[in-house]
């Protein structure tokens, strides 16, 4: 088993490093740019939610990411120390709404749910803990 773990402060400036870590992980495991894209996007959406809406802004070691190559894809864990928040409870956006009716929120989590499988959430102490899988 070969897992990689990263820790991020609650600062959007960390997105660059997040993208680099995902890129290295995918290179190391010979994963395609398509897989890299989906992992990067899912982690950005969850991280940015935690920083912007979860109260993680300015927090040291606000979020942790763990990636592991498994037989059936990439196992992804994302944890943050923000307010209790279950992304699975957010309703799907209305994709056929007109431009005027479109709401700002929900799109990011919609993308995460489309790209990732077997999403599960639990609250453990002060942490939101999410696991999911990107099939390969």
């Amino acid at each position: 088993m070969s897992g990689s773990e990263f820790t991020f402060d609650g600062d959007l400036g960390e997105l660059e490093r997040l993208a680099e870590e995902v890129e290295w992980f995918c290179e190391e495991h010979g994963l395609s740019s398509d897989v890299e894209f989906d992992l990067n996007l899912a982690l950005e959406e969850l991280f940015v939610n935690a920083v912007r809406h979860g109260g993680c802004a300015g927090m040291k070691d606000a979020a942790r990411v763990r990636l592991e190559r498994t037989d059936d894809g990439v196992h992804v864990e994302f944890s943050d120390r923000g307010r209790e928040f279950d992304p699975a409870a957010v309703p799907a956006p209305d994709l056929e709404a007109s431009m005027a009716e479109r709401k700002a929120g929900g799109l990011g989590l919609h993308l995460v749910r489309n790209m990732m499988h077997d999403f599960a959430y639990r609250r453990a102490g002060e942490w939101n803990h999410m696991v999911m899988r990107r099939p390969v």
Partner: protein, 105 residues
């Protein structure tokens, strides 16, 4: 990192967007597209060299499209790269944006 370049050709303002339209770059993308829409009646965003776009980047595009609608300016998103195509398709952007396979000129 996002790179934005603008040129005017045959009455169209073409905004080429390269690199990454993530949450860190979304404000820059939105203001570039908005200012193009405010100064030109016809704007086309070229996404052929866009490597990455998240929901923050999509929102920037939607805000620019709204601004264009208010001004009755034309706004088209052209030549979607494969990653951009994937995110646009998943988000139903074709319902609300004019998406073109080629540049208008």
């Amino acid at each position: 990192m996002i790179q934005l370049t603008q040129e005017v050709r045959a009455g169209w303002c073409l905004v080429a967007v390269r690199g990454r339209a993530d949450s860190a770059a979304a404000d820059e993308l939105e203001s570039a597209l908005r200012s193009a829409v405010e100064q030109h009646p016809k704007v086309a965003a070229d996404f052929s060299a866009l490597d990455y776009i998240s929901s923050a980047g999509l929102r920037a595009v939607l805000q620019a499209a709204r601004a264009a609608q208010e001004r009755q300016a034309e706004f088209a998103v052209c030549r979607l790269s494969a990653p951009a195509r994937k995110v646009f398709d998943m988000s139903g952007m074709h319902h609300i944006l004019r998406i073109e396979a080629e540049l208008p000129c």
